[in-house]
Structures are given as structure tokens and as C-alpha cells.
């Protein structure tokens, strides 16, 4: 129903875009899409199929999808509550807190990887005692990939959800509270559904960033086929020896991520 309404509105107003916006918007599209088109032109189409069939490529792709999804899941579980704290709580020092959690956005990812070593490596602040006590260490494992991706990608989710929470109409929450709902119930039954599109958008951003994550991953998790070599790492290494294969690999990753995002989007639209 809502989908049909949207389509009709588009048809009504031809494009419905004022000329003032159309020109810069078209420029933005050209700028963003041109490198992709160039990539498509340079792509070795004939080898694309055989590349997908290669076990090493499928392995890297699978690892990428799983680790990016896990990173997004972790980000959702702890990031959405943090976004709420940043947007709604009366906590003192929220500004500083917000600046701190967005540090990974400005930190060069490779530096982020080194910082993760300092924190969670086997000689790290937390990782050191853990390793001495249990013999468990994160670096060079798949969990390190997920941690690195979460570190870099979670801020995207937090910022997006916080924005959605600030924009959401608080009167619904007030009404729920007046009607006797507890704060937890209000959050679960009113706030969450209200900002669901924001959470979805944040999750998509987070997932996409995690999927493309390179610097922190190759630093903190290393690079080994099957355990830590995600698609971006495979692309980077292929660039060293076989640039054509690197282009093909990046196209495979692009196709899979676009497909996943569009598929998920359709799902969401159907549900809401």
C-alpha cells in the first residue's frame, strides 16, 4: 500500500526536483558513480565467472559477510542503547562522551588497529592479563576481524540512531509514560518502533562500513585465508600481483553488497 502511494507520487510530479537542486544533485551522482563506471569499464569480464567459482574467493566473501554481519549485530546490541544515552539521558559530559565514541571515525584505521593491539593484544592493557590467565588471545583470529570491524563501524550506527532519536517526537513517549508504561517498556514498545527506520539506516551504514573495512582488520587481525582474509584484504593483496584480478574481486564484493542491501531494503519495506 505504502509502496503504491510512493510510486504514484513520483509519476505525478514528473521528476518533482527543482532545477536548483537538480544540477548539484546530478553532479554528486556523476562524481560518486564515475569511479564505479570506470571500474566496470576496466573489469576483465571474461574472468569474472571463474573467479567467483574459486574456493579462495568464496571463502573470503563468506568470511566478509559473516564478520560484517556479526559486527553489525554487536553494534546494534550495544550501540542503540548508547545512542539513547547520548540523545535522551541527562548524563553529564555527554558532549565529551559523544566525541569519544566517534573517535574511530577520524582515526586512520591502521592506527585503530594498533590501538586495538594496545588494548586487546596479548601484551595489551586488557588482552595481556587475559592472555596470561587463560592463554586466549584475539589477534589473528576471526574474532579479531569482528572486533576490528565493530570498532570502525559502530560509530556510524550510533550517530545515525542518535540523530533519529533526536528527531523523533517525544510526545509519544510521554503519552506512554502517562499511561503507566515503565521506562523500559516505553523504550521497547514506543521508542524503538518510532526510530526503526533510523536504526535500519544506521545498521546498513554500519554493515557496509564493516564489509569494506581494511586498515584495522589487516593490522589487528592479520591476514590468513579462511580465518582473517576478508574480501578487502584479498583485493589489496591481489593488487600487488594481479591488478585485473583485484578489479574483478572488488566488483564481486560490490555486487554482493548491493544485492544484499537491496534485498534487505525490500524486506523492510514490505514489513512496514
Amino acid at each position: 500500500m505504502s509502496q503504491r502511494g510512493r510510486v504514484e507520487r513520483q509519476v505525478d510530479g514528473a521528476t518533482g526536483v527543482p532545477a536548483v537542486l537538480l544540477v548539484p544533485a546530478a553532479l554528486a551522482v556523476a562524481f560518486l558513480v564515475l569511479p564505479l563506471v570506470a571500474l566496470l569499464i576496466r573489469a576483465p569480464w571474461s574472468t569474472l565467472g571463474s573467479l567467483l567459482a574459486e574456493p579462495a574467493v568464496r571463502q573470503a566473501l563468506r568470511l566478509s559477510l559473516i564478520s560484517a554481519s556479526l559486527a553489525t549485530l554487536i553494534s546494534l546490541v550495544v550501540g542503540v542503547p548508547l545512542a539513547w544515552v547520548l540523545a535522551r539521558s541527562q548524563l553529564r559530559g555527554r558532549t565529551i562522551l559523544r566525541a569519544l565514541v566517534t573517535v574511530p571515525l577520524v582515526l586512520p584505521p591502521v592506527v585503530g588497529g594498533v590501538a586495538l593491539f594496545f588494548a586487546l593484544g596479548r601484551r595489551g592493557v586488557v588482552g595481556g592479563p587475559l592472555y596470561d590467565a587463560t592463554g586466549v588471545s584475539f589477534p589473528f583470529t576471526t574474532s579479531a576481524v569482528v572486533l576490528a570491524e565493530t570498532f570502525v563501524a559502530m560509530p556510524f550506527l550510533i550517530i545515525t540512531v542518535e540523530g533519529a532519536l533526536r528527531a523523533a517526537d517525544r510526545r509519544y513517549e510521554d503519552a506512554a509514560a502517562t499511561l503507566g508504561a515503565s521506562r523500559a517498556t516505553t523504550f521497547r514498545r514506543v521508542t524503538l518502533p518510532l526510530v526503526a527506520p533510523g536504526i535500519a539506516a544506521g545498521a546498513v551504514l554500519c554493515w557496509a562500513r564493516a564489509l569494506g573495512e581494511f586498515g584495522a582488520t589487516i593490522t589487528f587481525a592479520g591476514n590468513f585465508p579462511g580465518t582473517t582474509r576478508t574480501m578487502p584484504l584479498a583485493v589489496y593483496l591481489a593488487l600487488e600481483s594481479d591488478p585485473e584480478a583485484a578489479i574483478a574481486l572488488s566488483l564481486v564484493m560490490l555486487a554482493v553488497s548491493l544485492f544484499t542491501l537491496m534485498f534487505l531494503r525490500d524486506r523492510w519495506l514490505m514489513r512496514t
Binding site: R123, I218, A221, G222, Y236, E240
Partner: protein, 270 residues
């Protein structure tokens, strides 16, 4: 001894002053450098763009400072482009305006040769060998190449796509060993960082890299390293914007002074 070096410096300074004057005159008379054999040293001017493998950074930078002292009108130190050899080769093929290319492997140099962009036959000027790098104090007690087969240890090797990885594979094949790496690093620097941080017990990197990383890393020689000697090649390029300075730079690198600087940094001479 000191007196001799003082004398040498004075002579050098006088020569430099002389060079400057000559050039002034030459420029006044002909309007531009002729590039003839006798005057070529005097007429070098402008930017000299050298694309060089990342492992050459330290030696090339110090040689560049000496080169600039000898040719005051040439700027080379600010125009170095240090990166992975394959990245640089790709850039040159994509028509990056470079005068000289110094690669860390024959295969990357071949990319440029295949594109017909080398102005002369590339020369092997130095060689590098592998060394075992361990964190200071060698906490895991690594003694030789056999330790790389121990799955208990955390081991970093270079990926086979990069030169140090290709060399590592050769070494292990020659030794008849199957290594058990935990990570295959994208370049030597990345592998060394992990050793410096103590996150891996051992890595196989170039001797020169161990030398520059200072106290945090210890190097262990092993006999099998002789099986994987890595050649560094240098050439001037056909599309060089500054061909005279390019030729002079290659000559300087291959001179006794140049090669001595490489030996000091841990490179071998071919």
C-alpha cells in the same frame, strides 16, 4: 686524517662554487643547458622524480641529500616517491611523470620493461636477504627456521603476492620445511610492526628492515637465507621529464659512495 678530510671538503666546496659560476655563464651564453658530456654535471637543474621501493627509503634519502649538495639546482629529496614496487610500477605504466624507477624485485621491473618504458637495460644494484625477526629478548626462544613449523608459536610471514613472501616461500622450499604462519602480511613493515608490538613470536623479513627497527626487534641469521636473494634493479625511464638528472642519479647510486651507503644499511652487493 682530519686535515685530509678538511682539505677534501674545501676542494669540494670550491668545486661547487665553480660549478655554480660555470652554469651561470653557460646559461647566459646559450640560454639553456646543452647536456654535452663535459658540461652535463654542471647543467643539471630542476626536479628529479625518483620512484623507489619502500625499502630504499632511508638510503635513498641520505643519498639524495648528498646529490643535492653536489647539484644545488636539482631537487630530489622532496620528489622521492617511496611505495611498494608493484604500486610504483603500475603508476609508471599509467604514465606517472617519473625520471627513475628503482624496484625491489625483477618481476615489478619487468612490468615497466614490458610497457617499453625503460630508457636503458635495468641494472641490478643491490641485493637483500631474509632474516628472522623476533621481539626484543626473544621471548619464545626462536633459534632457526625450524621454529616456523611449530604451530604453538605465533608466526608472521609476508603474503606470497609481495616480494618478501615470494622469498620466504623459496627459503622454506629449499629447507624442506612447511611453515605454520598465523598471518600473511601485506608488506615487510606490517610484519615488523607485529614483532615490535610483541604480538608475534617471529617473522621473516629483510635484514635491512631489522636493522632500521632498532632495539624493539632482534635479528637472527639463518643459513638457508642464501637460497632467496632478492635483486634490486634501477633504470631511467623513457618519458623522464628530466633525463640528464635521471642519468646522473643512476650513476651516483651505482658509484662507490652510493653502494657503500647500501652496504652500511645491510644490503649485499651483487
Amino acid at each position: 686524517m682530519r686535515r685530509i678530510s678538511l682539505l677534501a671538503t674545501t676542494v669540494l666546496l670550491l668545486a661547487l662554487v665553480g660549478c655554480g659560476d660555470d652554469e651561470q655563464t653557460a646559461n647566459d651564453q646559450t640560454g639553456s643547458g646543452s647536456g654535452s658530456a663535459t658540461a652535463s654535471e654542471d647543467t643539471l637543474t630542476g626536479a628529479l622524480t625518483v620512484f623507489a621501493a619502500a625499502s630504499l627509503t632511508d638510503v635513498f634519502t641520505s643519498l639524495g641529500e648528498q646529490f643535492e649538495a653536489e647539484h644545488p639546482d636539482v631537487t630530489v629529496v622532496d620528489n622521492f616517491n617511496f611505495a611498494g614496487s608493484s604500486t610504483l610500477a603500475e603508476g609508471i605504466v599509467q604514465a606517472a611523470p617519473a625520471d627513475v624507477f628503482a624496484s625491489a624485485s625483477p618481476t615489478t621491473m619487468q612490468t615497466v620493461v614490458d610497457a617499453g618504458l625503460n630508457a636503458e637495460e635495468p641494472t641490478i644494484f643491490v641485493q637483500n636477504t631474509l632474516q628472522i625477526a623476533v621481539p626484543a629478548g626473544n621471548p619464545a626462544g626462536v633459534t632457526g627456521l625450524e621454529d616456523f613449523t611449530n604451530p604453538e608459536l605465533t608466526i608472521a610471514l609476508c603474503a606470497e603476492d609481495v616480494p618478501c613472501g615470494t622469498a620466504a616461500i623459496k627459503v622454506f622450499e629449499a629447507a624442506g620445511l612447511t611453515p605454520q604462519p598465523d598471518t600473511l602480511e601485506s608488506d615487510v613493515r606490517a610484519a615488523l610492526t607485529k614483532v615490535e608490538l610483541g604480538e608475534v613470536d617471529a617473522a621473516l623479513v629483510y635484514k635491512t628492515d631489522v636493522l632500521v627497527s632498532g632495539d624493539a626487534v632482534e635479528g637472527i641469521d639463518f643459513p638457508e637465507s642464501a637460497d632467496a636473494v632478492n635483486d634490486y634493479l634501477i633504470t631511467t625511464l623513457t618519458d623522464a621529464p628530466n633525463p640528464d638528472a635521471a642519468a646522473a642519479w643512476v650513476e651516483f647510486v651505482l658509484s662507490e659512495v652510493g653502494l657503500a651507503a647500501f652496504e652500511e644499511a645491510g644490503f649485499q652487493l651483487p
